[in-house]
Structure formats: C-alpha cells, structure tokens
C-alpha cells in the first residue's frame, strides 16, 4: 500500500499528548535507520497513529527520494504472506520486503496468535535492522500487551523506542478543529469551535465526526451559535466522577494481588512437584495412582522424591516391556497392562509368557536314558564329561561338544544329558533339545512369518540348549548368526549348552570362526567306534532285551567282530535273530557264523519279528523306517 500523500506533518496538530511521538517521528523520517529503530507508536483508536505513520513516510520520501518506503497494515502483510506461501513464492515475498528502506507497519495488535506471521516478521525485522533500515510500527497497545506473541518478537518490537499518543487536551482539540475548518474551508461563529472542543471526546475521529455534523447543520440551518453545539453533537454524559475505567479495575486487580499472595503462601512445593509428575505421566497415558495417593498425604513423606523417581523408573520398565512384546506381536502391546506401573510385575510376567511362546522348543527324547548308555574306553571321555555337565550344568564344561562318527551314540548321549538335566532341574527347568535341522527350519519359518523375536525368545527362555547334528549349520550364515546370539545369551546366563556333531568344530565346513572358537571354548569330547568291551556289553544287552539266550562263545565271537558304529551292532543282532527264526532254531554260534560270514552274506527278507525286535530296542520312531523291504540289513537309518 502506498503512503497517503494527504496525511503529513504539516496537517498534524501537535499537543502535549503527542509531542513525544511527533518528535520521534520527525527524527526517524529525517534520518531513517539512524535513531529509534524500531519506532513503536501506540495509542487507542483514533488518536492519530496512522496519520503519524504516513507523515513519517511522506517526510522520509521528501528527504530521501531514492529510498524505498513501504506502508502496510499488518492485515495486508498477513494476506500477502499467505498468498506467497500458497503460490510458493516466498522468495519473491522476502525479496520484496528485504529491499525496503523504511517499513511502516500499522495495527500490530493483530499479531495475536499468528505464529507464522510472527516468525516471518521476526526474520524480516532482523534482516532490516541488520542493514540499518528503518522500521516504524503502530498498535493500539504496547508490545508486551499484545497477547500470544513470541517473546523474541516482543523483545524485538520493544528494542527501539516505544511512544504513546494520549487523548488530546482542550487546547489541542481547539487546534485540531481549527485546522480541520481551514482544510474544509468553513468558518464558524466565534466560540462554536471552543464549545465543541470542550466536549471530552476520547478520540479525534469522534471529534471530526462532531465537526462534520456542525458543518452540515450550518449549511442547512444557517449560522450556528455556541449554545446550539451541545444539542447538535449529543455530547456524551460526563463520566461519573472518581470512577474512570482504570480506577474501577484497580479494585479487581488489588483483589487479585492479594489472592496471588494467599495462593503463593498456600501452595506446597513438594505437592507441586508430585503434581507435575502426575500431569506428565497422565499426559503420557499412564495411571498415576501411587502418586495421587502420595499427594493426599498431609505432610511431605520423607521419601517422596524417591517415590516419584521410582514411579518414573517403573514407567520406563513398562515401556521397555511393551516394546519387547510388541516386537514379537504388535497386538500384545498397547494394552492397559502397560499403562499401570502398579501392575509392573504382572506386565513382566505377561511379557515373559508371551515371549516364551505357547510352544516351547522340543525337549529331549525320553527313550534315550542315561542308564542305557554304556561306557567304555572308546567313549569314556564324552560320558564323563556328560556326567559332569549333568551334575553341574553350566559350570564345568560349557559348551560340551560331542564329536564322533555316525552311530556311535552322540544323539543318545545328548538326549540322556537332556533327560537327566530335566529330571534334576524339576518342573520349571526347561531343556531345549533339538536337531540343528529343526532349529534351521524353525528359524526360516520365523523369518517368513516375521516372528523372529518369538523364535529367539522361545529358545532363550530355555535353561539348557542341546543341539544335535550341529554340523548342519555349516554354510548357513543366518542360522549361524542366530546361533551365535543364542550361544552368547546362554553362555552369559550360565546356562548349559551341549552340541553334537559328526566332526569336531574345526572340520565343520562353512562354520564361521566366531562360532568355531565358541564351540571349542568348552570341551570337545570325541566318541569313537565301539571297542571290544563296548561291543560285548552292547551285544549282551541287546540280546538280553530281545530275550535271546546266548552262550559265552557266541558273545565272544560277536564282540571280536569290529564294528564302525553301535548301529551296525544293532543291525547284526537283527540279522542274527532273523536267521534263527528262519532256521526255526535258537541262535547258536554256527548260525551266527553262517549269517555273518561273507560267504553266506546274502540278505534275507525281513521277517515279521523285526518290527517287534526293533520296537524293543528303539522306541524312537524317527530313527526307524518300519516298512523297509530288507530292514534287517539297513533297518536303522536316520531320517535327516
């Protein structure tokens, strides 16, 4: 908006009420940016702020024709700013105001609540002031009283000179009226102007309005006399003496002051602090009953600070628990349980249950009892280590790594350890005893379903982890990664780890170094092919279980025959029994020789008793294929 040429200093009447403001305005327009920057002029409506602002603009323009001078009511400024934002032309907006030399902003009181305008204005004022450009602002109230304005902006507005314009006194009113008459080229009877000036108008616009009425009255009714003035302008009733608005409000404000001191005396600081905590945690959505109870105490309990801190800690724990459980299953979080610190232990138990999952990892197979595992020099080290682990899980050999060729009893020993640990640990002691392949499959399934946290939690909830056929993890990076973390968790928690593999850790192909070194960090115990002692023990037991009477010669013959694995021994027993059945005679050395010597090695078809016999020896379904045609030769096979 342009500066209005009609409003200048020469038609602005100066009186005692505005002298200071006018002096400041002159100084500013003579040397913009040099003094009083920013100049802030305030007064109630209709006392000449806008006139003075335009006057500054006009005078500055006259003195400095090269200067860019901009007058803008705040409302327009806001509108331009919004338009600029809407059209994405903020840069042009900033450029436009950035090159103004004298910026005159009217009606600053409309800043209230306009955060965006405030921040843009603050930025603009900073930049203008920084380059010594003049800012003049007007408002109907001083900066500090403009409600809801950024503190920094208020400081900026108050940083130069703040002047107010008061209500003009009688003499000034007369001068204003005379100036107006001159402007309008009208004349009144002597005394008319003075009579009008006696009326206490609170602003000049009203005064001007009254003058206009006189002018029009004079045009229609002829020359006015001073006596007619009051009737014509309807002079406002004189204000009741002694009770101008300000004085009236004093009564309320003095009451307010007294109340303030009474409140200040009554407020208890510790309750304020507890109240803050309540408000804060309530705002965060947490129940705050313990703190509310605390606030009902008559006196500050000695430990109130500790109680507040403890509450905050409980809330943090709740948040953590909720985070944990939400990672497993987002639907479990967000419940009331996680909003009430008084139910922390309940929440913790809930999370533990949820994390453990409904299905714990598989346990050891009951068929592999420690009692049925025969010890001999070939497996002595492993068996002793196993016994040590059983007596002191997690302490002696952690991890225990059982290595040995297929069929020497690793699985049996591993499960036997598991069974013993479970038996000794009691009902709450959870032993996870699984094959590595199952571990891998579960991991893959968990990755697929996005339930990896639950997978981890299931295993981590166990008290001991026994992993069979761990050689299968070789080359499987993700599995090794998980296993690595599971391992660390167990090891750090002092929980027992037992692994079984067909080769020692060193020889597992594709096993990462970090796992290998960990596997080797406990005890690597080897199980070898059964020696003669073991073979004899085993044959004795197997045949006894099958109810086959055996002579010492036969036993000695059988035990002498070398075997690579226990499985081979079992196979031998089955073949012998089948042969005996076929011959329809009890098992004797000749039959045994006939069956086992290579010349007679032709396989026979499996008799029906195989199933029964196998059943007696092995209760493990997984390890037996029932309907194999020549089961006597290859009865026992690992499925995996």
């Amino acid at each position: 908006m342009r500066v209005d040429k009609r409003t200048r200093f020469d038609n602005y009447v100066v009186g005692s009420a505005n002298r200071l403001a006018v002096a400041a305005a002159h100084a500013v327009s003579d040397a913009p940016g040099a003094v009083y920057n920013p100049l802030f002029i305030y007064s109630s409506s209709g006392l000449g702020k806008t006139h003075l602002t335009h006057a500054i603009g006009n005078q500055a323009m006259a003195r400095h024709p090269d200067m860019a001078i901009e007058y803008v009511p705040l409302e327009d400024f806001v509108e331009q700013l919004h338009a600029a934002i809407a059209t994405g032309e903020m840069d042009r907006f900033k450029q436009r105001y950035g090159r103004v030399d004298v910026l005159l902003i009217d009606d600053m009181q409309f800043l209230t609540g306009r955060r965006e305008t405030q921040s843009e204005l603050l930025r603009l004022l900073n930049s203008l002031q920084g380059s010594k450009r003049q800012i003049v602002m007007t408002s109907d109230r001083p900066p500090a009283e403009i409600a809801d304005v950024d503190e920094r902006l208020i400081q900026k507005l108050s940083g130069g000179l703040i002047v107010d314009i008061g209500v003009p006194d009688y003499e000034t009113r007369v001068a204003i009226l005379r100036a107006k008459c001159e402007e309008k080229n009208v004349t009144f009877e002597p005394g008319v102007i003075e009579e009008l000036a006696r009326v206490e108008f609170t602003n000049i616009r009203e005064l001007q309005g009254a003058l206009n009425r006189l002018v029009s009255a004079q045009v229609t009714d002829g020359t006015l006399t001073p006596a007619q003035v009051n009737a014509l302008v309807g002079a406002p009733e004189p204000a009741p003496p002694g009770s101008p608005t300000a004085a009236r409000q004093d009564e309320f404000f003095s009451f307010l002051t007294d109340i303030a001191s009474a409140v200040a005396a009554g407020i208890e600081p510790w309750k304020v602090r507890v109240g803050e905590a309540v408000a804060f945690w309530n705002g965060e959505g947490f129940r705050t009953r313990p703190l509310e109870r605390l606030m009902q105490e008559q006196k500050a309990p000695e430990n109130w600070e500790a109680l507040v801190r403890g509450f905050a800690q409980a809330v943090e724990q709740l948040k953590e628990l909720e985070q944990q459980v939400s990672a497993v299953d987002p639907t479990l979080g967000g419940t009331e349980l996680f909003r009430d610190p008084e139910r922390l232990s309940e929440a913790a138990a809930f999370v533990e249950r949820a994390l453990a999952g409904a299905v714990p990892p598989a346990g050891p197979q009951a068929a592999f009892a420690r009692a049925t595992f025969e010890e001999s020099p070939s497996n002595q080290m492993a068996v002793r280590a196993a016994d040590a682990v059983i007596t002191e899980p997690g302490h002696r050999y952690n991890p225990l790594f059982l290595a040995g060729p297929s069929g020497v009893g690793k699985t049996h020993l591993l499960n036997a350890i598991g069974n013993e640990l479970a038996r000794r640990g009691g009902a709450s002691y959870r032993v996870a005893c699984v094959g590595a392949q199952l571990f891998i499959d579960e991991l893959i399934a968990a990755l697929q379903d996005g339930t990896i946290e639950r997978f981890r939690a299931r295993y981590r909830a166990a008290d001991a982890l026994l992993l069979d056929d761990v050689q299968f993890v070789g080359g499987k990076e993700r599995t090794q990664d998980e296993l690595f973390h599971v391992f660390n968790h167990f090891h750090a928690a002092g929980k027992q780890l037992v692994f079984a593999s067909d080769v020692p850790p060193k020889q597992i192909e594709g096993l990462e170094e970090r796992l290998r070194s960990r596997f080797e960090g406990g005890l690597v115990a080897e199980l070898n092919a059964p020696d003669r002692t073991l073979r004899e023990k085993l044959f004795t037991r197997f045949l006894a279980v099958a109810n086959v009477p055996v002579t010492p010669e036969l036993l000695s013959y059988l035990a002498e025959r070398s075997a690579a694995s226990v499985r081979e021994l079992i196979g031998t027993v089955h073949r012998l029994m089948a042969a005996a059945e076929q011959a329809g005679a009890p098992l004797t050395l000749p039959i045994a020789k006939l069956t086992l010597e290579p010349a007679n090695g032709a396989a026979t078809s499996p008799p029906s008793s195989v199933r029964q016999a196998a059943d007696t020896f092995f209760l493990d379904d997984e390890k037996i294929i029932w309907e194999w045609p020549d089961a006597s030769g290859r009865l026992v096979e690992e499925l995996r």
């Binding site: 009564e251 309320f252 003095s254 507890v274 309540v278 309530n282 009902q296």
Partner: protein, 209 residues
C-alpha cells in the same frame, strides 16, 4: 471438591453467597461482575423470576489467571433467599469451599437474618460439613441506608455473628465492602490450602467427593 488440583495445576474455589431474601447477594455478584475485566469473567448465569428475584441461583465464574503456576478459578454462587427454596439452597451449598453470609442491615429484617444464618448451619450439618471448619464471613449489607432504618454493625454482630467470623459492612449496590468481603472469604479459603483442608475426605470436601 478438592480446592487445589496439583495434577492439573488448578485451583478452583467455590464461594456461596448465603443470606435471607432481598439481602443483596445477587447485587454483590453484579457489582463484582461489573469490576472484572472482560477477559477474566465468564458469563454470569442468573435464573431470575419476572420480578428479578433469584429463582434458582446465580453463578459467576471468575478466571483469576495463572497464580503461582496454578490456573485459578473462582466460582461465585448465590442461593435463593426465600424460605421455600430450601432444596435449591442445599444443592448450591454442596461442595462449597467458603460461604459469605450476606445479612440485611435493616432493623426490621433482623429476624430473617438470624433465621437464615441458622438455616445455613443446619444445611451444612445436613451435608456432613462441620460449620466450624467451613470458612464463613459475614457481610452487613445496605449500610448506606438512612441510620434510622438500619442497625449498627456492632448490634448486628451481636445478634447474628455468634461464632465471631470475620465481618464486613457493605453497600453492595455501589460497591463499598463488596471486594473487601470477597477478599476476606478468599483469603480464608486459600489459607486452608496449606492446612489439612485441601485434601479430599476432610470436612470441606465431603460434600462432593
């Protein structure tokens, strides 16, 4: 009603103007209403009859702004003075933090004053509030009337204020004494912040808890 809510940082103070009919309770509120700057007062609710007698009650909420960080709000109520509005009086009295008893200084109203003051005590007791724990101030209104019509404060005090509550003489129509009375009751009520009265379950709070 708990006076101070440390959690929401609010102080809410309910003050009930009690007294016989036509003693000037509503006038008190009107005067206060007139003095309060626009932004501090809520809408004054007045349920009056055609003849401008308070039918139900007046309610003037005052927002005193933030004091010591507490949003402080006063709720000023008047009860209908006429004898037959007993139930309303009890209702309004519920949960009051303080009572201003507005007495009519006119000599011919003395009996009504005494009766109403006793009625106040009865109603408080009815609500399980011990009148001795309830902050009460007494205002002798209409002291601007010609001397021959009214009783002097000392005489009124002897007749009505048997408990020796703080007392104020007032001219509610023109203002003198109105804010003094409000200040008197407010300070009494607020003094109870630090005393035991602030917590719920005590006599003052029993009404609404």
């Amino acid at each position: 009603m708990s006076l101070v809510n440390y959690a929401t940082r609010e102080i809410t103070c309910k003050i009930v103007y009690y007294g016989p009919g036509r003693s000037g309770k509503t006038t008190n509120l009107h005067y206060i209403y007139g003095q309060v700057p626009e932004d501090r007062k809520g809408k004054m609710v007045s349920l009056a009859t055609q003849t401008d007698r308070t039918l139900f009650f007046d309610f003037l909420p005052l927002d005193l702004g933030s004091i010591s960080g507490f949003t402080t709000k006063f709720q000023l109520y008047t009860v209908p003075g006429q004898v037959y509005y007993q139930a309303t009086r009890r209702l309004v009295l519920q949960g009051a933090d303080g009572v201003v008893f507005v007495a009519d200084s006119q000599a011919r109203q003395l009996e009504e004053n005494i009766e109403s003051f006793q009625d106040l005590h009865a109603n408080l007791a009815e609500q399980g509030v011990d009148p001795r724990t309830m902050p009460i101030v007494v205002q002798y209104n209409k002291q601007d009337l010609p001397k021959e019509l009214i009783l002097p404060v000392a005489e009124l005090s002897d007749a009505i204020n048997f408990r020796g509550s703080p007392e104020f003489s007032a001219d509610a129509l023109h203002g003198p004494g109105v804010f003094e009375t409000l200040r008197g009751i407010s300070e009494q009520v607020l003094r109870r912040l630090s005393a035991a009265g602030a917590s719920p379950g005590t006599a003052a709070g029993a009404g609404t808890k």
